[in-house]
Symmetry: C3
Subunit: 173 residues, 3 copies
């Protein structure tokens, strides 16, 4: 019965790939695997940065062993963010930084009460919640399964660059 | 000991449901299952669209076999987004599109450098990062465990409708 | 081979921790565990609220049994949100509420068509998609692995406080 679940009689026409562990209910098949790493990204200037290759390089030894799974990235900070966006034209990253600065007031006229850590700190916190500090990306056949034009961005929202910690958790079969 | 972890002596009063695999440490119990599909959503006009039933229809044969788990949706694009929001009144989706257009400048007066793909392209990238391109939804007793008024939205941010690819990964017991 | 995947010869210098289940392919090791709970958070006034300790208290009996895993939080509502942000200064939460109210128009001059549930309802839906209603947090050695200054926030976007339901799913080894 569990096997039939992964081999449905009526496969939707639009399904392009289907990875399953049909024999998972037997003792012969490997149980799902977990790997977790904490990596440190070097300091980057304020703005949006493409970090796909940096991330992949760190997890490649583990990643290649997963046929199907999920990769979770979790940024340990509240003044930077992780997002997925265009991986080709640098201007897209620059325009996104322009947008963030336009939408979140900064400086003497900004209405923030939390100013003790500098004028760029409270805007950084807000931007961090707007884009989020966590990503989940599917793994297929040992690779991150992203679209052709997708890349992983680290958005640094503080003026003074600092290194940033990311906890990466891989789970799959 | 592992069993006791899933059968705590003091169950919090507010817990309404608890699904566990207490015997997972024995060889008799099925290991967690994985399923992954790539589906294609048909082109939709610019705006927010309720796609819950389309998504459920695609994964139903697999979904019904999970007692407890997580469903991950990953959009393969950087000019559209996935979000969870109200599933009843069409006006909510329309108003959300109004908001996005209000907040992200578009056209000759917009400050974007990336204009080569049309005036709606850079705004689309920004909106994609605002709402995100990935969702994770709990699975309970073979169904997506969402609130009464929650639905899955595909937000199309480009003027010209194109089909959109979503990688769906199911994991659970 | 699967074991070597979790014990790579060349461990990246910047890796600080690595949790694996290298022997997962043998029958002797416990399969990954799942736990799922539905909890109810008490009504909170409009604004951003730190709920880390409330969440941890609810899941602590299960959480402590996971050496490595992921904790998923899913809010069952479309007029509130979950986000991760600063856990120390109350002003950061207050300033974030100020930002949300500044960016999303509310009241007679707002352009919303969906007004039947009150002037604060449509803005609440928009804010819910801006910050999102779902979080995924790594688990390491029985604890949520967040940064020093990170906390879990419930952002209540409605004027009238109501209790809020959160489905929490734990998965790991």
């Amino acid at each position: 019965m569990q096997i039939s679940m992964f081999l449905p009689n009526k496969v939707p026409v639009r399904v392009k790939s289907l990875h399953t562990n049909p024999a998972a209910s037997t003792a012969k098949v490997a149980a799902p695997k977990w790997a977790q790493k904490t990596i440190t990204l070097p300091p980057q200037k304020r703005g949006c940065h493409l970090i796909t290759s940096k991330i992949v390089k760190e997890i490649e030894p583990e990643l290649c062993g997963f046929k199907c799974g999920l990769a979770h990235l979790f940024l340990h900070h509240t003044s930077a963010s992780l997002t997925i966006n265009e991986n080709y034209d640098y201007d897209v990253r620059d325009d996104t930084e322009t947008f963030l600065n336009k939408i979140v007031p900064e400086g003497p006229s900004a209405p923030w009460k939390h100013t003790i850590e500098g004028p760029d700190d409270m805007p950084a916190h807000i931007k961090s919640s707007m884009f989020g500090s966590t990503l989940m990306i599917p793994i297929t056949n040992g690779k991150l399964n992203m679209g052709t034009w997708q890349g992983i961005w680290l958005c640094e929202h503080r003026d003074y660059p600092t290194s940033r910690t990311v906890v990466i958790t891989l789970n799959g079969i």
